[in-house]
């Protein structure tokens, strides 16, 4: 079935709460990070949210890096 509508997709098909809970913003040694929890009970860095360019060169928070859950 094809449905044509001018409504935004998220209004037609609301996304479950658990999708939003997967990602969260944490502060890691003063660097704000957007992280996603993975199956290994670790945080995986999705995005660095800092404005300081030197934070983007900081090894432990490179996107894809894993931070253990505390």
């Amino acid at each position: 079935m094809i449905m044509y509508t001018m409504m935004p997709e998220e209004l037609m098909f609301p996304i479950g709460q658990e999708t939003f809970e997967k990602q969260q913003v944490i502060d890691y040694n003063g660097i704000p990070l957007l992280v996603a929890k993975n199956d290994m009970h670790e945080y995986e860095v999705v995005r660095v949210l800092s404005t300081d360019p030197s934070h983007y060169l900081h090894d432990p928070v490179q996107p894809g890096a894993k931070i253990p859950l505390i």
């Binding site: 001018m6 409504m7 935004p8 998220e10 209004l11 996304i15 999708t19 939003f20 997967k22 990602q23 913003v25 704000p32 996603a36 290994m40 009970h41 670790e42 949210l49 404005t51 300081d52 360019p53 030197s54 060169l57 090894d59 432990p60 490179q62 996107p63 894809g64 890096a65 894993k66 931070i67 253990p68 505390i70």
Partner: protein, 247 residues
């Protein structure tokens, strides 16, 4: 599995330091490269990246790349308050998004007391236009584009005349902001906004690189090198001005 987690917990402070071989493997997995250059000192220029969609009151699902104003606005406040930060570089690659959120970010950047330079890379569409012009000086990459089009709503709209009046007022705010912070005149901007035949089956204009400069919207064509040079120049200018006041 359990062992791996334990070892990770103990080296929380200095991850990957003790295991050079596996850390190298991890790095290759993460970035496809083995080392990342390090900056020694704190940077006096901070960088705000505005990417993806500008998110308004409705939270978008995580697969969307979004710029959230609840993240950006505290960061701009922190930049304003931190005496070590001397300038801000704003990098845009956005498709646009929420008008109110975009205008909020634009107003914050325009009222920042520190020198700001914006650089449009790829795209600075729709509500990205006021953000690009809000800075002290603006650059656009030669291949970057900006789509200028009238304000519209998606979602549930109450079809009463008041809704359209409200939309018109909202558009007026955007037009006023852009004309106040750039060299384009109101008439010229509205001409671009309501132009026919430029966008397939829609009104508006897609300005590319130098077109944005000739229309007066953006100050010049350039990349990150030019933007940094200009920002350093503005920082020096501000320093000289402050010294002048002291004397």
């Amino acid at each position: 599995m359990a062992n791996r987690n334990e070892s990770n917990n103990t080296e929380e402070q200095q991850p990957k330091e003790d295991k050079p071989a596996s850390s190298l493997m991890e790095k290759i997995q993460q970035l496809g490269q083995t080392n990342v250059p390090q900056l020694s000192q704190d940077s006096k220029i901070h960088c705000l990246t505005i990417v993806g969609q500008i998110e308004g009151h409705l939270q978008l699902p995580p697969q969307n790349k979004t710029t959230k104003y609840e993240h950006l606005i505290p960061q701009i406040v922190a930049i304003e308050q931190n005496p070590k930060i001397e300038g801000v570089l704003v990098i845009l690659n956005t498709v646009g998004g929420d008008v109110e959120a975009g205008l909020a970010i634009s107003e914050m950047l325009a009222s920042l007391s520190k020198p700001t330079v914006s650089l449009v890379l790829g795209g600075g569409h729709s509500i990205g236009v006021p953000i690009a012009v809000s800075c002290d000086y603006s650059f656009i990459a030669e291949t970057a584009t900006m789509t200028i089009h009238p304000i519209r709503l998606t979602g549930l709209v109450i079809g009463v005349p008041q809704t359209f009046e409200y939309l018109d007022k909202m558009q007026e705010r955007v037009v006023k902001f852009v004309t106040k912070h750039s060299n384009i005149e109101e008439e010229g901007f509205k001409d671009l906004m309501f132009a026919k035949g430029n966008l397939t089956r829609d009104i508006g204009t897609n300005v590319i690189g130098s077109d944005a400069v000739t229309s007066g919207l953006i100050d010049s064509v350039g990349g990150v090198g030019e933007a940094m040079t200009k920002l350093n120049e503005l920082i020096e200018l501000k320093k000289d001005k402050n010294e002048g006041i002291v004397q």
